[in-house]
Amino acid sequence: MHMADALVSPAVGGLMLAASAGAVAYSAYKCKDELDEKKIPLMGVMGAVIFAGQMINFTIPGTGSSGHIGGGILLAALLGPFPAFLTITAVLLIQALFFADGGLLALGANIWNMGFYACLLIYPLVFKPIVKKGLNPTRITVASIVSVVLALSLGAFSVVLETLASGITELPFVTFVGLMIPIHLAIGLVEGIVTGGILVFVYKMRPELLESSFQKTKLPKDISIKKVLGMLLAFAVVVGGGVSLFASANPDGLEWAMQNVTGTTELEAKGDVYTNAESIQETTAFLPDYTFKSSGDDGSAVGTSISGLVGGGITLLLAGGTGYLIYAIKRKKEKSA
């Protein structure tokens, strides 16, 4: 579910970064109040556990395929929602930087899809109420399965919204949702069972770990849930009202911003450089004369794209050549030194 940079537009990426940054800042603020310093190393190591845990594939019975845990609900149950959210954020950042798993600009979207829903929304609103009457293996398992399925579906739905708002994929909305939701329901079910298994094991071996995490990080019922709901509402308004501006048919974010500033999206058309280049092009370019000028207006568009393609190819060669040249010069210098 990690989104790469190429799958979001700057507008959507920026919006999600802002939303996630807000949630991260709020969590950090909450942690400052409630967390003792002893928990900081624990959060670090737990982040590493989730990271390592995601690399262990388990077999899914009867299918021959395998899956791995995501870990949002697991972390929230062991650490409490706010430390868990910060931990997930750190894991996602490291994955983005070192493993090309999700992009740097898409980081906001990824934190939101995989961290926010699980830790700050589903955990307090679904997981906690289910186990409220007291911990036992059945309740833990049920709570885990329901929570993981819900969190994953919400995340998958957000991925659909974000790519569509970015105008990246041509998949019709209904088809896309129809593909993403069922598969994530299945994944969620399996991950929920495994998460439940892990939590039940921890509960049986060291019950005080789970119990203490429930007592210490108890959410003040009246405030926190309202705030979380408020955040979600704000997000819905922004997505509903704002994102439609950036749909694929419209100018992209940068052009949109330029248009608002300058009144046109085509700054370059008026520059001196462009007119110069154009006049040079008219006198020296062989492609327009050679192929396309005779074929009238229709042909010139094709001419532009062909010269663009040829230029693109040459550009790639030039770029590669430049890189090689720098290498070669460096080698020579090293040898002579």
């Binding site: 940079d5 798993d101 892990i198």
Partner: protein
């Protein structure tokens, strides 16, 4: 699993790029990402010029390209499948190359892949020339709360330790279950549960060790260097060049000279 530190080892190189101020590198990388992904899905030729940035930076910083390309492959599948639908759903004819028809869907698909390659390269180059502690200091400098930065540093520090532990546990499991292709789902709870319990104890020990060395909730950081003239020049030159590349279709201009 054991290649995890190779990128960070590269970050200890001794080249012009490695010596640049981390903040400057962070800003130019983000500018590059924004400019690349802001391209129209059908403007593939304008995008091509952006190949210069990763190629030149890799050459200047002497990063070997093989490990970088390997990591890039990880990022491609998701973009590939997201883009694949464009070929199927957008079959309007854009142009003919010789006798081969090219649809808009194919063009936008190619753009997605090219964008993925460029953006992933840019981030990997950033990491291969800048160590995580350096980036963390910059996060502190722009007032990111301490707890988040410490969280990132500690998580990163212990990833390799725990991966080693997981690898040992996994070997032990597989030796006892020769036919299994992975860990059976019914054993997964116990497997990860064990790892969790061990990690809890480890975290406690780490805390005591930190306490013995004077930890009072505050991590001590070395002061990062100041941004000097070379850094400003780099920022200015790269910034201007990238913006020029975004707003002028250089590929087309080059192509039209021929």
């Amino acid at each position: 699993m054991n290649t995890i530190n190779s990128l960070e080892e590269m970050a200890e190189g001794n080249t012009i790029i490695h010596h640049l101020h981390p903040m400057v590198k962070l800003i130019t990388t983000i500018l590059y990402l924004v400019l690349v992904i802001s391209f129209d899905p059908y403007n593939i030729t304008g995008l091509m010029v952006f190949a210069f940035y990763p190629v030149i930076l890799m050459a200047l910083s002497e990063i070997p390209y093989k490990p970088l390309l390997k990591r890039m492959l990880v990022a491609l599948p998701f973009s590939f499948f997201a883009g694949l639908s464009n070929i199927i759903f957008d079959q309007k004819l854009a142009m003919m190359i010789g006798t081969i028809p090219v649809s808009y869907g194919v063009i936008s698909f190619t753009t997605i892949i090219v964008k993925t390659v460029f953006t992933v390269m840019a981030v990997l180059i950033l990491i291969a020339t800048t160590s995580l502690p350096q980036i963390s200091y910059q996060l502190l400098a722009i007032k990111v709360p301490k707890i988040i930065v410490e969280q990132i540093m500690l998580t990163y520090r212990y990833i390799s330790v725990l991966l080693e532990q997981v690898s040992n546990m996994y070997t032990a499991y597989i030796l006892r279950a020769p036919d299994a292709k992975g860990i059976k789902m019914k054993d997964m709870g116990i497997f990860v549960g064990q790892l969790l319990l061990k990690s809890f104890d480890r975290a406690e020990n780490i805390y005591y060790a930190m306490k013995c060395r004077g930890y009072d909730g505050n991590y001590l950081y070395a002061k990062p260097n100041k941004i000097n003239q070379i850094d400003w020049t780099y920022l200015l030159v790269v910034g201007v060049v990238l913006l020029l590349m975004r707003f002028f279709n250089l590929s087309q201009i080059i192509g039209s000279f021929l």
